[in-house]
Point group: C2
DNA sequence: TCCGGTTGTGCACACGTGTGAACAATGCAT
DNA sequence: ATGCATTGTTCACACGTGTGCACAACCGGA
């Protein structure tokens, strides 16, 4: 209807303060050449009019928008959803705005990246994106800094932030050996990234190093239903302790132990320490990747690149820790 | 380093095609006044150069950015996370870009909205935002259309999309009565929105209408740990069937029945039909709000307002349905 | 009075795009 | 040959902002 009621611009502020538009800009940006009383007058005028600068126009002029593209896949996975939340919160705290795209479908991914670049984002954060090669190419073409979360391989010019999967695998092995287990198995995921493979390698290397044997292995996509079908075969291996590449797999495995008729329940360890792991229904021992620190470091890197303080790609490894719960207390679970 | 390698603009395309810049713009936007062969030439040039229009500049000129602000709270709640994922996907399918803000902290909320408006979003979608009054005020001041998801009250000029909680409550009551229950209880949430209250009213009204009695009631925030502390008191009421305002509450209630020493486990119904409800560990009967349709309608409304096809606020009620599982099969659970 | 320095402000341009209006070219009828 | 409609293209401006440069005002010293 009366949509033509104009948005208030810096011009209106200048008019009210009896001053030129450029002085308004300088006063609000803290230019030292502006006298204190005119600055006060400008600020008063801006406040009464409720002036908010148009960040689109500013972005066009300054060639920097304050927008960070975030590419994420599979938000059904609680771990990714939590990471996204932390990213959004921490970007917001640094006055960066996240433009989020979900790239599940392969065709949508290509498209999403193109649109993301069209919006002149200052940086791109990709979270567990399987199609990262296109992203890398697009960011390189557009000269945009790129941070990959949860991947440990990539070209020289992209930043990497990821958990120390090898060390985590070793930690889990030590913990299970301490609890008295002597035969072991691994429940793998189907990552296109090699995250699952690293967890497995760190685990098995330590097992062998300590003189024990791996007696079973299975793999499944990170879907509860599918993992549930695969689980009985893994349980049949008779392993006393099973390390799962992911909490979802671990929950399915626990569910399988309940429905199947087995004499002894193995010790079970998951990965991601999702909220559900702490619930009494599972009380699952799980590796915590320290997502809080991981996301903090990620946005720090992104911001550093944006402000131009440095454009050197960095790679940071985050140390995980183990949240031990009932699922690895051999005696308590008879 | 060599960051001064210029981004290719429409000017470069025009240069390559031996044509003026405005003709490039018209050719790509499908203006019928452009001859077919020049259009083909322009498209070829754009393709070889990999031209992607600068949406920031376009947004400034057209006064419409294609960006939709999404405000969400509490992404830890799997239900919200899932809704956000669907919103992002469906906005993407309509070529709208979601700028996401999390407004958990009250101080951050005010700030987030201001920045959101500064980015000249075309519309705002608020998902279960408790601080909606500020959002309404900001959108009204900025003349931006606003869609509230999962709220059934609001001013005349904002659109509302929400599930029919009263009907869902009645459906649950009918289902439990069918299963043979004769005494009932309700486990309430602490919504600032009145969603939980509606679910309760629809439920109890039907219970009374059928001549039965409510014998218990408890309330908790939507946190597993807190709900777990409250649950035993509710179980002590001896109700044969308990309807929970939320799956999280229901899961806690189920956990409580396991740890406590009770002779008969009540029938339990949750709300949201989260992924976990289908897992065998709980197999929880739950109300499905039909999030797919809800989010579709929401982005449809947003898009309609953006394209200017209509600026009349709409309110749409989504019909829920019941996913019945083992938790309400009286005989199977002895 | 003139000059040079300091301090505060305004003019005009640029960012990359879309679009109304003007204009060149062509065909057709008078 | 001239007027007129049609078709394809270009010119010039606007969107709202930041900023280099010029410039006004003022002061102190010669």
């Amino acid at each position: 209807m009366d949509k033509r009621k104009k948005q208030i611009r810096s011009f209106e502020v200048a008019e009210l303060a009896n001053i030129s538009r450029s002085t308004v800009s300088r006063a609000l940006s803290g230019d030292p050449r502006i006298s204190d009383d005119t600055r006060a007058r400008v600020e008063a005028a801006a406040a009464t009019l409720g002036y908010q600068p148009n960040l689109i126009a500013r972005g066009l002029k300054n060639q920097t928008t304050g927008i960070v593209g975030v590419v994420v896949t599979d938000l059904d996975n609680a771990y990714h959803a939590h990471a996204l939340q932390l990213l959004i919160e921490k970007l917001g705290a640094k006055r960066l705005a996240p433009l989020v795209f979900v790239g599940n479908t392969a065709e949508g991914a290509e498209n999403a990246i193109a649109r993301l670049m069209s919006y002149q984002v200052d940086a791109v954060i990709a979270l567990a994106a399987p199609f990262s090669s296109e992203i890398v190419a697009a960011c390189r073409a557009g000269k945009k800094p790129l941070v990959l979360m949860n991947r440990h391989d990539g070209p020289e010019d992209v930043s990497l932030v990821y958990g120390d999967s090898l060390r985590a695998g070793a930690m889990v092995a030590d913990h299970l050996i301490e609890q008295g287990a002597t035969s072991f198995a691994f429940f793998a995921g189907d990552d296109t990234t090699s995250i699952s493979a690293d967890r497995e390698r760190g685990f098995t290397d330590r097992i062998y190093e300590k003189g024990f044997q791996m007696v079973g292995r299975a793999a499944s996509r990170y879907l509860h239903a599918e993992a549930l079908r695969v689980a009985p075969g893994l349980l049949a291996s008779g392993a006393q302790a099973i390390f799962c590449a992911n909490d979802t797999l671990a929950f399915a495995l626990v569910d399988a132990t309940r429905s199947a008729e087995i004499t002894t329940t193995p010790l079970i360890v998951g990965y991601d320490n999702s909220a559900l792991a702490a619930w009494p229904a599972y009380s699952l021992t799980s590796v915590d990747q320290n997502l809080g620190e991981m996301t903090s470091v990620t946005v720090d890197i992104a911001q550093t690149m944006v402000t131009g303080a440095s454009n050197k790609a960095r790679r940071v490894i985050i140390e995980p820790f183990l949240a031990a719960r009932r699922s690895t207390q051999g005696q308590a679970r008879k």
